[in-house]
Symmetry: C2
Amino acid sequence: MSRAVFYHAGCPVCVSAEQTIADHLNEEVEKVHLGEQSKRIEEAEQSGVKSVPALVIDGQVFHINHGAALSALK
Amino acid sequence: MSRAVFYHAGCPVCVSAEQTIADHLNEEVEKVHLGEQSKRIEEAEQSGVKSVPALVIDGQVFHINHGAALSALK
């Protein structure tokens, strides 16, 4: 079973990407708002996330468009 | 019926993204290698694609990671 996590920060770029991408993926996507769940920033960083919105599928990171750098959320 | 097109240029970043993203989308994805199908660069540009790999779903562009600028393919 693969695991998909969508990290975002509530920005317009993020929300637009989130809705469309999540709608079209054939599996459940956990959505993590790093602005509200700052404790998970470290987990995102360890997965290789550099900016949001980002999608992590089975440990592979996809930076989608560019909303904000992760460093801006700390 | 939504339409998904994945534009790429055969680069390692593109191929990796292509396989994973296409595998996880719940619809057929047309894959367009712009290095081999340069006639479709104009179509990609008109869709708003600036770099590859990029995924266009229902006219919405998602630039995924960054392989190459579209201008480098001309």
